[in-house]
Symmetry: C2
Subunit: 347 residues, 2 copies
């Protein structure tokens, strides 16, 4: 089966000729720019319609905008991130902007490859969700192109920031569990050593929030953090480690730093013959659809991902239209969603 040949693209010149106007006028109509009479507008729009014209983004990139927003998600498998994405795409739906995503990244090198690819493709703005890159790289990106960093603490003049109050979110979980009567509450965190990330990444803030809340509730002596990673595997290993201890040192409740971690934690508990919440309470973070899944029914912290996405777009569009405006930071408040995976500890 021979593939059919491709036809030449319709250009702005074709439209201008067909509408019997200049290319400038067509360009103005395309960009809703000032200085095109209503009748000219309708003529041009009709010609565009009739010819099926669409502007070539590459050509636009050389002179102006491409009407493209790049979004970088760290892990497409983590069910929390689609929420942010939904907020972003919904906000952009009625505009001329198009969203394109980078493929999942794990590590600074891949992030750099993706962000640079987006810059090279003349994108008008970037939304970076929970990037792990160094502060210096983020500022490099923010300097080259309007950028919003989502889900990372610490602000910069070079980019805007939208974040959840992870410190408070962790406190909500600890308060909930302490209120149920738990004392030995353990936390499974994503291991972090880099000093910048230790200060800025959500996982580090959740661990800090956990420690602080434990102190506030007078549970200082039970502070118990297991360092693995924010993956299913990390949760599994974390609970295995907790269960390998002498019975008296085992926690009655586990606060997993993310729902995906809680999944692995539940798996390890199940394999060890423990019932949840009978033998052990488990709480997560992100309030993903998985947490709401009835047979699991995981207590979790809701971060309002869509709201984060909407805010990111608002800031980004503001900055695109005014490159000079001072950088801004938006912090949203999380809320706890109690479900059946947490209950009073056994006597």
């Amino acid at each position: 089966m021979e593939p059919p040949a491709t036809r030449r693209r319709v250009t702005i010149v074709d439209v201008a000729r067909h509408a019997r106007v200049s290319v400038t006028s067509v360009s103005k109509v395309l960009r809703n720019a000032y200085g095109a009479s209503p009748e000219m507008q309708t003529r041009v729009r009709r010609a565009i319609e009739e010819l099926g014209y669409r502007p070539h983004a590459g050509a636009r990139a050389l002179r102006g905008q491409t009407y493209t927003i790049g979004v970088m998600l760290p892990d497409i498998r983590n069910p929390f991130f689609p929420e942010i994405l939904d907020g972003i795409t919904a906000s952009l739906e009625e505009t001329d902007y198009q969203v394109l995503l980078g493929p999942g990244c794990n590590g600074e090198n891949e992030e750099a490859r993706v962000t640079e690819a987006m810059i090279d493709r003349g994108m008008d703005g970037l939304v970076l969700v929970a990037p792990v890159s160094s502060r210096a790289h983020l500022e490099h990106v923010g300097t080259a192109i309007p950028t919003v960093v989502v889900g990372r603490h610490g602000s910069s003049p070079a980019y805007d920031t939208v974040t959840d109050d992870d410190f408070e979110g962790a406190a909500l979980v600890v308060s909930h569990l302490a209120g149920l009567g738990h004392r030995r509450i353990a936390h499974i965190e994503h291991h972090e050593t880099d000093p910048t990330r230790l200060a800025e990444m959500p996982n580090a803030r959740r661990a800090d929030g956990y420690r602080q809340a434990m102190r506030v509730h007078g549970l200082e002596e039970w502070i118990d953090v297991v360092s693995t990673s924010y993956t299913q595997q990390g949760g599994y290993q974390g609970v295995r480690e907790l269960l390998s201890r002498p019975a008296a040192a085992r926690p009655t409740a586990v606060f997993a730093g993310a729902d995906i971690v809680a999944i692995g934690a539940l798996q390890a508990a199940s394999e060890a013959g423990l019932s949840v919440p009978g033998d052990m309470s488990v709480a997560g973070y992100d309030n993903t659809t998985f947490a709401a899944f009835d047979p699991i029914s995981l207590t979790s912290v809701d971060q309002a991902g869509q709201e984060m996405g909407r805010n990111a777009v608002r800031l980004l569009l503001e900055r695109i239209s005014d490159h000079g405006r001072p950088s801004a930071k938006v912090t949203l408040s999380p809320s706890l969603v109690p479900r059946r995976s947490t209950a009073r500890p056994a006597e």
Copy 2:
């Protein structure tokens, strides 16, 4: 905090000047084109390195390639699709190509918006995963730009195709359940009315495969298809409907057309007080990480998503380098992964 000003980009002219050669030579080195001496190559590469030059994709788009591959995924929440994506990105890792994803689509209009945006951005090739668009639109896309359609049956001269043998996959499930002694095996499908999609979409093929396999096993009289959708909600509704029947007409096993459907099915069974597999066996399709999750342990069909992605890239690169080559179709064989959610029916 005032954002710092952006510097002018390094261009090919800067590189040429710095290396004391012509822009033509630099261009040749960039594209590994014929006609550049080894010493010229090293000089140019050194200049590129020293200046931190990266070619502007928009400018390239006007004359040649952009080294960008667009991937359209139908639903970022379905955990099967990341597998395909992994196969794609892994195959492209060592090349100069960059992958960009379209945001999740639901419906023909959104798909058209995304595919056209990708064409307008001068992408070199497209991988469309389980698109719902009309055949005509797919051919329109395939005519404009090298395209591989993944997970959809029916081939075309305008694009290449990679697909799983969904018909066989469904048969594997039915054979497994029939082998366990089940007679009343129900199937939850994604409702489809469009004639093209009825012939080409995987969900329709799975339903056909189910019916055919039931006949082969002499279970014709128990054929029982519930039409909902390939979502968690669809699975939930499907089982609710099955359970609303008189006891004698209820199935002892349910074949959900996708793991995400099985999730909802399990939820409905759980709410109805049924144990799985004690009171009802449940099987899915896609072998997602969720299926392997121990507390669930869902019997499922493995589609080798990464293999699909790798094949898609291979076909795409072939076609990019030879637009005229006849279109190809690759069909992969699925395999069954039995787990604890299926067992012999109760007496």
